[in-house]
Symmetry: C2
Subunit: 156 residues, 2 copies
């Protein structure tokens, strides 16, 4: 996946392969740095941050299945992360009256306060880590990635 710079392959399809490798290395590098800072500064993890970020947008809460779909991870995965956040008092589960299979998950007051602080730091880090990307390039790159994404939505 993170294949090599050495022989510099060429031929049809190689440009896209090279793009993929760069994309993956860039995101892994940034992810590793964020992970480390979240741990050091706030004693939390990237998956916890992701869940809280998703919930922060929607004060009334989300269903577990919406959460896992939004985060692009499996159902069982979210269960574990939410379990831990609940045990720390940052997130609450609420069974619904209507459909007793589902449970609404939302940030607690403490979780909301806590996330707001972390998110501010996070945004600063991204500004720092991507600082060398010009605003114009950032918008252009975002545009390309967005059109890529739209080709994918609703697949399978």
């Amino acid at each position: 996946m993170v294949a090599g710079p050495l022989p510099a392959p060429s031929g049809p399809g190689k440009d896209r392969l090279r793009l993929w490798i760069r994309l993956l290395r860039a995101s892994r590098t940034i992810e590793a740095e964020l992970r480390e800072r979240l741990k050091k500064e706030f004693d939390t993890t990237l998956p916890r941050f992701d869940v809280m970020a998703a919930l922060y947008r929607v004060p009334e809460g989300m269903l577990m299945s919406d959460l896992s779909r939004f985060l692009l991870v499996s159902n069982g995965n979210v269960t574990g992360i939410v379990d831990r956040l609940v045990s720390e008092g940052l997130v609450a589960r609420a069974r619904r009256n209507g459909d007793r299979r589902t449970s609404m998950v939302r940030l607690t007051e403490e979780g909301t306060k806590s996330f707001a602080i972390i998110a501010a730091a996070h945004e600063g880090w991204i500004g720092e880590l991507l600082g060398k990307v010009s605003e114009e390039d950032a918008r252009r790159l975002t545009g390309m990635l967005t059109s890529f994404r739209s080709n994918w939505e609703g697949r399978e």
Copy 2:
């Protein structure tokens, strides 16, 4: 991390934050698809593929520490993956005469053959998954990501 499309934040630094979110979602989407195909078609995993891809470039082998540095993962992580590949006969460890702390890790003949087949399929998948990105955009995007990467190398 994979934060939301809904309120569309604005302000200074938001362009870079949006870029990061798009970057992360794109790589996670592709990664998930590759993971699934590797499992279904070849009964293997992305981390195993990554390790084999790294070794494939260097027939004489790599040190464990070079491998983990190259793959951007921790030392202990590589130990486990290589252990499993060795037990499957795809990879071999060889203690060196000179420095007895190190061990040279390389693909076995079987591992080389096996990887060549998987890599061909993998390249086709990338072509398919990134098919909507024009060759020109691919090169431009790669260029941007490369310059970003060079800002990072040798950090910490």
